[in-house]
Each structure stands twice: as C-alpha cells, then as structure tokens.
C-alpha cells in the first residue's frame, strides 16, 4: 500500500513517468575498495536485469559501497560509503527516471548506514560518523542526518549512540538500532527530530520490521526480540537456532507480515573459513526458532519477498569481484530462475 502510494505521488510530480516504476530495485553493495555499488532493476516478467541504472541515466558512477536504498516522496535515495575518507555521500535521484537530483556529501554524511522515509519531504539517514582504527573503531557517537527532500539539504543532525544502524518507523516514532556497544534501541520523535527514550534489549540490537500484529521485531546477538512499540515491553526473546557456531542474518519479512526468512551461517575454520549454512523460515507465532528444516540449503547476501508475486528473492555473491545473481524461489523452495546482476546483491525493493 505504501509503495502504491509513493508511485502515485511520483506520477503527480513527473508528468512523463520513466521506466523504473513497476519492478524490483536490487541494491548491489559492490566491493568495498572498488567503490562500485549500484542499483539494478528487474521487471518481474523478465529474466535479465538492467544493471547500474545510475550510470545509465547519469553518465557517471555512484562511486561507493551501496549501503542502503529507499524510495520516498518520488525520490530514490542511495547511501554510499566510499573507501576513501571524506568521500561518503548520498545520491538522490528521481524515482521514476533515476536522473540525479542532488548529492549530499561529507561532512554532512560520514559512514551512512540506513535510510528511512519519514514523509514525502523528509528522510532519516543513520550515520556512524568517522570511524577510528581497529582498537577504537566507533570512536564517535553516531547521528541521524535529517534530510529535507524539498531543498535536498541536511537540516539537522540528531545525536544518537555509537554505531547507529537500521531504523523502523512506526507511527510518528522511529526505532533505531546500534552496533557500537549500546544495548538499547533508541526511539526518536519523527515530528520534533529529537530522541525520546531508549529501550534496553541486549547487545547490538537492530530493528528488522513490524509484524501483522503491530509488534516490532529486533535482531540481537543470536536472538530476536519481539517488542511492543506502544508499551516498550519486550514480549519475547527467542534464540535463533541451536548451533553455537552459526549466526543468523539477512532477515526478510513475508508479505503477510506473519513470518521471516533468514540466513543461518558460519565461517568453517576447518575449511578455510568458507561461509556455510542454510536459509530458514520462522513464523511470528512460533514459540521457538529451531532452524532445523531449511527453506534452501545455501546462504545469501540478501533476502526479500515480493508482495506482488510472493516469490522469494535471494542474492548470491560468488565473490565480491564478479557479478552476483538473484535467484527467485517459490515458497516451496523450488527455483524459478537465476538472474545475473551487479556485484553483491544485498537488498530488494519491490514496487
């Protein structure tokens, strides 16, 4: 519904809507030191993707690791983390045409991590700020850059804990996770752009999504939390799987908001630290998450479920120096097709 709404607003703003309207936007993170993140576009009925829309439409590359992507108020927002200091940035493009509208750069933007739309004219971008060396990596507090999409400016920086990560907007509140050592979710008032309160959960809490019952699911270290966003009550803490070697990642909610797919993997020390594992599903009604019946017997760098067709999109990264693939699965785990895309497919936006 949200997506349809955005498409509507896009049509109002752009009299000549371009081709990137109905389909799947694929975020290719890229290889960090190559600064080659990009956005691919796939029409559902096709089995070949259009690669690097930004280069195609603007004649220049994005130049950075594509950290996150979202669409808000007729704009597409791409977060770019460059391997060189001082060159991180946000590219804002027209959602329909992918033509560049604005570039926001350092020092406004330093290590951008995630983006969430607040209104048609406002978006939040969580940032780590400048990082240090390995002994003190998160040396600065994080911040949320408040972006005015009418004037394409960072109008405010909201100070937040170190290692600011993903955000989920519920009503007028934004729930922010962090990996910098805090055990709290930070709750921000999206009207006043101020921190309202925090919710203590456990190490590295990072919000995933809101389920059909309006509950917020939060990723922790080997666990997921179910939080009531109205009361801040932690209703459940579920251990994900039982294998002490493996850790869960890449959670993707299903269109009915009643379950999550996730990757459960480890780096095998007996086999040159190759990443091994499987992809599983759990329901929001499950009392435990056993992770014993794989949906697919392989690992992915990104997962998403298409609300329109119900197919599961899984990003394969053979290496960070070659093309990735998006494999489309039916819910029974059978393969529909495999589509070549750019390096490290890591995120999907369906519209």
């Amino acid at each position: 519904m949200l997506v349809v709404g955005m498409m509507g607003s896009c049509r109002e703003k752009v009299p000549d809507p371009e081709m990137y309207e109905l389909g799947v936007m694929i975020r290719n993170a890229g290889n960090y030191f190559d600064n080659n993140g990009s956005i691919s576009f796939l029409r559902r009925e096709k089995s070949t993707a259009e690669v690097d829309l930004f280069l195609k439409e603007n004649g220049r590359s994005l130049t950075g690791n594509a950290q996150d992507y979202t669409e808000v108020g007729g704009h597409s927002i791409i977060l770019l983390d460059n391997s060189s200091p001082g060159l991180d940035k946000i590219e804002i493009v027209n959602m329909g045409t992918f033509k560049s509208e604005a570039t926001l750069t350092a020092p406004d933007i330093e290590n951008p991590r995630a983006v969430v739309g607040i209104s048609d004219s406002k978006a939040y971008v969580s940032c780590w700020d400048a990082t240090g060396d390995f002994s003190n990596f998160y040396k600065n507090p994080g911040y949320i850059a408040v972006i005015d999409l009418d004037n394409f400016k960072v109008i405010r920086k909201i100070p937040v804990p170190k290692g600011a990560e993903h955000m989920v907007k519920i009503g007028n509140e934004v729930f922010l996770g962090a990996v910098g050592g805090t055990e709290n979710l930070t709750v921000i008032d999206a009207t006043t752009d101020t921190v309202k309160r925090s919710i203590k959960l456990g190490a590295s809490p990072d919000p995933i999504d809101v389920d059909a019952n309006g509950k917020l699911w939060v990723k922790g270290n080997g666990v997921v939390y179910r939080v009531n966003p109205r009361t801040d009550a932690v209703e459940a803490t579920l251990r994900v799987g039982t294998n002490p070697l493996k850790s869960p990642s890449n959670y993707a909610i299903t269109p009915d908001r009643r379950g999550f797919y996730f990757v459960y993997s480890f780096y095998d020390p007996t086999d040159s630290y190759k990443e091994k594992g499987e992809t599983y599903y759990f329901s929001i009604d499950d009392a435990t998450i056993a992770a014993d019946k794989p949906f697919v017997n392989r690992v992915f760098t990104g997962l998403g479920v298409d609300p329109m067709q119900g197919l599961i999109y899984a990003g394969v990264t053979p290496s960070y120096k070659q093309s990735g693939y998006v494999i489309r699965y039916r819910t029974d785990g059978s393969v529909v097709d495999s589509i070549r895309v750019d390096v490290a497919p890591s995120g999907f936006m369906f519209k």
Binding site: N31, F33, D34, N35, N36, V51, D52, N58, G59, R60, S61, T63, N82, S83, S84, P85, G86, L87, S100, A106, P107, E110, D129, A130, T131, G132, D133, S135, K139, N140, Y267, S272, Y273, K274, E275, V316, P318, S319, Y320, K321, Q322, S323, R340, D342, V343
Partner: protein, 645 residues
C-alpha cells in the same frame, strides 16, 4: 666551451641516444668483434639472450627527473599501472601479471617491499637513479624471485668525470605542487692508482593537490596531500686493474594524507625506505653487501596510534666470472657463478609474532656462449632456499641468431624459455588469520620469440623495430580468496600471452633532428583453473586491471638547443570484475614538453615546460575517483660545472 664544441658535444650526445636506443644491437656488435669484455657491474641482460631489453636514454630520464618512475614507464612501455590516485598507491602489471610479479632491482638488489612483495611506484622518483632498463619476460633464473612478468633495472651513477658540478632544480606545477633538487657530482685523481668520484642528491617535494574543483564531471577529485623527500649518495673508488670499491645509499620518505582537512577521518600512509650497498669488483670477482629497511605507517584521525610495518634485510652476494675460448673458432664462453644469503627481520602489528626472522639463500650459475658470429646462446640455473620451504629449481635457455647481416640492414631472431618463481611475501605467510604459513612459492614458465630489425635507409635516417610474442604460465598463483574471508591460497593458474610491437625512427638533418618511437601491446591474460561453482563466469576472462590493448607514441623535433616533445598513451578498458562484466573505460592521455638550455661560462641552465593531459581527458583510478585534468609545470635546473669554460 665554444659554440662549436657544444655542437660537437650535442652530436656526440645524440649519437649516444641513438646507440643506447638500439642497445641490443650494440651488445651483439660487442660480441661479434670478440673483444674481451671488461665486467663493470652486473648487467643481467648479458645472460638473458632472447629476451627483450628496453634501455632508456638520458634525455628521456632527464625529461622525467621531477616525476615518478611510473610516469616515465607509462609513456614508454606497455606496462599497465593500477593507480589509486595522485601520490597514492600505484602498482604495476607487467605482461599481464600481478603487482608482485615484477622485480624492481636497484644496482642488482631487489627492492620490492618485502612485506607486500611489490613496489609502490608513487614512492620511486626518477631522480633516485641514473640509468634505467626494462627487462621483458621471466628472468628469475638470473635476478631471482618476483621476475615473473619482467624486471625493472635501476642503476646508480657510476664514476663521475673530474671536477665539481653543483646543480639546483625546481619544478613548479599546477595545484601548488612543487619539487626541489639539490645535487653535486665530483671526481678527482687521488694518486697514480686511485681515483675517487661520487654523486650526492637531495630531493624534496610537496604535492598539496589544491584542485580548483572537488570533482570532474561528477567524479570526485580526491583531496590528498603528498610529500616526498630523499637522499642519494654514490661513492666510487677506482683502483688499478679494473678494481673498484663503491658505496651506494638511497633513502626515500613518502607521506600521503587523504582528506587532510578532515581531522577525524583523514588517513595517513607514510612509506620510508633505507637502501644501502657496498660493492667491490675485480675483473673476475664481485662482492656485494646490502642493508635495507622498509617502514610503512598507517593511521587515521589524530595519527596518535599508527599501525606499523617494519622489515630489515641484510644481504651478501659473491660472484665469480670465468671466460674461455672454445674450439677452433675460439668462440668466447662466459660462465658466472655465485651465491647470495639474506637475513630478514620483520615487525608487523598484524603478524603472528612481534618479531619474525627468516633466512634465504640463492645459488646460481649463468653462462653465455657466442657460438659463432651470428649465434649467441645463454643458459642459466638458480636454486633458491627459504626458511621452511624451497622454491623450484629455475633454469632458463635463450638464443639469438642474426638472420641477415648487411651494412644497412640487420635482422635478428630471438627466442627464450625460462622458468620463474615468486617467494610468497611476508604478509602472505605471517599475517594473523588471513596469512597461510603453508603457502607455496608460485611457479612460472615463460616462452617467447621475437624479431629485431635495424635499418639505415640513408645517412640521415635510422629505424629500429621489434616484434615479440610470449606465453607465460604461472601456477600456484596466490589469491586472497574473498569467499574465504580473504585468506590467501595457492588457488589459481594464470596464463598470460601477448604480442608486443616496438619501433623507433631517428632522423639527423643538418640543422635539426627529429625522432619518434611507438609501441603497441596486446595482452591477453586469464585465470584458467575451475575451483568453485561460479568459476565458470571467471575462467578464461581477462584479468582485472589489465587492458587488452595499450599503445604509446613519443615524437620530438629539435633545433639547436630547443626541443619539442609529444607523448601519447592510450589504453583500452580495464575490467574490474573477474567475469569482465564491469569495466573502467579506456582513455588517451597526451602531454607536450618544450625544453631549452643555455650555457654561459661555468653555468648551464635548462628549462622545461610541461603540459600534461592536454586534451583534459577524464579517466578514473581504481577507486573510481577522477584523475586530474590538464596540468602545467615549469621545471628549471641550474648547474655549475667547474670544468666547463
């Protein structure tokens, strides 16, 4: 010096240029005349018959005296460079190999940084050496590890003429960039039997790179501030009977700060090298001892805690050369045998132990036989020994045959077979977690054949040309495998093959001179081993950052003491994904140089104006930042010569 003397000197100089540019030919003439060879120093090429050598004349070296070695090579050779930006890491790919497959030799000593096993060409200024040659093809049997794709031979100044020469040089370039050089060379006869000479050079530069704009056509011009300084010291004592004692020192200190204006996120990389060598030579013996220290410091923000890499290397080598005359034709056979021992001490924050030491040794025998006036043969063999493992035994065989010998026209056929190896770098073995103590040396096999021609159609014009085809197979190619968290493995098999064409034209008219040289290289290099499911996308594809086509053209015209030079370099696209799905576009860069000299009494002044990238071409470095557009520089060198009048 009178005008006429000057003119004569210039002609002699020009002659020297022509001769050195056709040096392989000269070498053959040496051998044909059967004159006894006096060995001063050690030229690896003598024992590498069949391999291509490209020597650079002093005009070319002088034109780049304020720039880095990579700037010179890019416009004169088909070597490909992987550049991270001005003043930043710049590594080489020689004939389709990786950055650690080129041996960089300074007076015969491999100066690749031992932890990384490669050279950052942004830290090697042309001012640091006097002579330069590029040895194409695997020459590991003669020069040792790393010479898989080829070698770069840098040599210090030898003996200097009598008297004292003092010089001051200054380069002022776009973006506030500048270089200063202060040097002296001196020579004197101490007594009847002893002659002393030497050279001292101090250089320093600051490259603040104050670009007028932060971007070009939407691509960032990365803010980076570089500094460079160094000291070169050569001392030579010549005794009687061709005995010579020499000492050489080259200190370099390079710093690069990215985002210097940003105190929290700026990044500093400082690279310092100390290289010192003492050498004693007689007509048959050469003894050499060297000490090198390579330091790298890296830090962010306030630079309070720098990550440190430091390696000391102590090395001694002894060689003996023997000459015989074989058979009825008394054809000369030269055999050179020798050995080298080296001790390494490395301290790196990320290594398994705070101090790691290892010993290496090499034994080698090299031979060269001028079997007939037309036919030259060389055969060499080397065995290296390294703590805990030994590289494979490394032989090579080469030959050159003169097909046509005519007073105006010479055609030579060449061929060579040679194994090569690369001892794994210290990083590959000792890096905590990602390193692999069990990693094996890489092993290569290079085959090549070529034709060389020289033609003098008239007394005015001379032409040289060469055509070379090669096939180089490198197995156990190490790979920091991204699928295994970038742990290093002997995973790949790389085959590089290619064709190189080079040509040169030189014309000497009565009142002016002109010349042109050009080169084209087709470099096809690919990984051939299947080691995982998705390798099918990768196998057989062109290696990343190696353009398939490269070409360069240099042309000049000179009248009196004024010379105009144009330099052109073109490269085709270079892929940055292993499956050749994505690439950085190809580009053409052109430079113009105008230079002139004045002489008055003891004073000699040379001035040069450079316009680089005159067409303002946009091209990207591997970080996908824009390289600078059109730039200008003014270079001025004033020399006082006590001997000139």
């Amino acid at each position: 010096m009178s005008k006429r003397q000057l003119y004569g000197r210039f002609l002699a100089f020009l002659f020297a240029v022509i001769v050195t540019s056709t040096a392989t030919l000269r070498a053959q003439e040496d051998s044909i005349s059967l004159r006894p060879v006096t060995v001063t120093g050690f030229a690896p090429a003598r024992f590498l018959a069949g391999l291509k050598v490209q020597r650079f004349d002093s005009v070319t070296v002088e034109q780049f005296r304020f720039q880095n070695l990579s700037d010179l090579l890019a416009f004169h050779t088909p070597l490909a460079f992987k550049n991270y930006g001005p003043g930043q890491l710049n590594t080489v790919s020689f004939r389709g190999t990786s950055s650690s497959h080129t041996a960089v030799l300074w007076n015969g000593l491999n100066i690749n940084q031992p932890n990384l096993g490669q050279t950052d060409f942004s830290t090697l200024p042309v001012a640091g050496f006097t002579r330069l040659a590029v040895q194409y093809g695997a020459s590991a049997s003669v020069v040792g590890t790393d010479a898989v794709g080829g070698s770069l031979l840098l040599e210090s100044a030898g003996t200097q003429p009598a008297g004292l020469r003092l010089s001051v040089g200054r380069r002022q370039a776009s973006f506030g960039n500048q270089q200063t050089q202060i040097g002296a060379s001196y020579g004197t006869q101490l007594n009847e039997n002893l002659r002393f000479s030497g050279k001292t050079l101090l250089y320093g530069g600051r490259m603040p790179n104050r670009y007028p704009s932060t971007q070009r056509e939407g691509y960032a011009l990365e803010s980076a501030e570089a500094s460079q300084r160094g000291l070169v010291q050569d001392l030579v004592l010549q005794g009687k009977n061709d005995r010579q004692l020499s000492a050489h020192l080259w200190l370099t200190d390079n710093g690069i700060t990215l985002a210097p204006a940003n105190p929290t996120s700026r990044e500093l990389t400082r690279t310092q090298s100390y290289r010192s060598m003492v050498q004693y030579q007689t007509p048959t013996w050469t003894w050499r001892s060297a000490w090198t220290r390579d330091l790298i410091d890296f830090g962010r923000g306030d630079f309070a805690n720098l990550e440190h890499t430091g390696t000391d290397r102590f090395l001694t080598r002894l060689e003996k050369e023997m000459n015989w005359r074989l058979g009825a034709g008394a054809t000369p056979l030269t055999v050179r045998i020798g050995g080298e021992v080296a001790h390494y001490r490395t301290r790196v924050d990320g290594y398994t132990d705070p101090l790691i030491t290892e010993n290496r040794a090499d034994l080698f025998a090299m031979s060269r036989w001028q079997a007939s006036a037309r036919w030259l043969l060389s055969a060499t063999v080397r065995q290296a020994f390294v703590t805990r493992f030994d590289p494979p035994i490394t032989p090579s065989l080469g030959t050159e045959y003169r097909l046509v010998t005519h007073s105006d026209y010479i055609l030579t056929l060449k061929g060579s077979l040679g194994r090569s190896y690369r001892v794994p770098t210290l990083n590959e073995r000792y890096w905590r977690e990602l390193g692999n103590p069990a990693i094996r040396p890489e092993s290569g096999f290079n085959k090549e054949a070529g034709l060389e021609a020289k033609w003098n159609p008239s007394p005015v014009h001379s032409l040289t040309g060469s055509l070379t085809a090669y096939h180089n197979r490198v197995d156990d190619w190490t790979y920091w495998n991204p699928q295994r968290g970038y742990r290093v493995e002997n995973l790949q098999l790389v085959v590089a093959r290619g064709i190189e064409v080079q040509g040169q034209w030189q014309a000497d008219f009565t009142s002016w001179q002109a010349g042109a040289s050009g080169g084209y290289a087709l470099t096809r290099t690919s990984q051939e081993r299947v080691y995982d499911t998705y390798a099918v996308d990768v196998v057989g594809k062109q290696l990343v950052y190696v353009p398939l086509h490269q070409a360069n053209v240099n042309a000049y015209a000179q009248r009196g003491r004024t010379r105009l030079t144009a330099q052109l370099r073109g490269v085709s696209r270079s892929f940055y994904t292993f499956d050749n799905f994505r690439f950085l576009p190809g580009y053409v860069v052109a430079n113009l140089l105008a230079e002139t000299t004045w002489q008055r009494g003891h004073w000699h002044t040379s001035a040069q104006i450079q316009a680089n990238n005159i067409f303002d071409a946009l091209y990207l470095n591997v970080k996908r930042n824009a390289m600078p557009g059109r730039t200008f520089s003014l270079n001025l060198v004033v020399t006082y010569n006590s001997e000139s009048k």
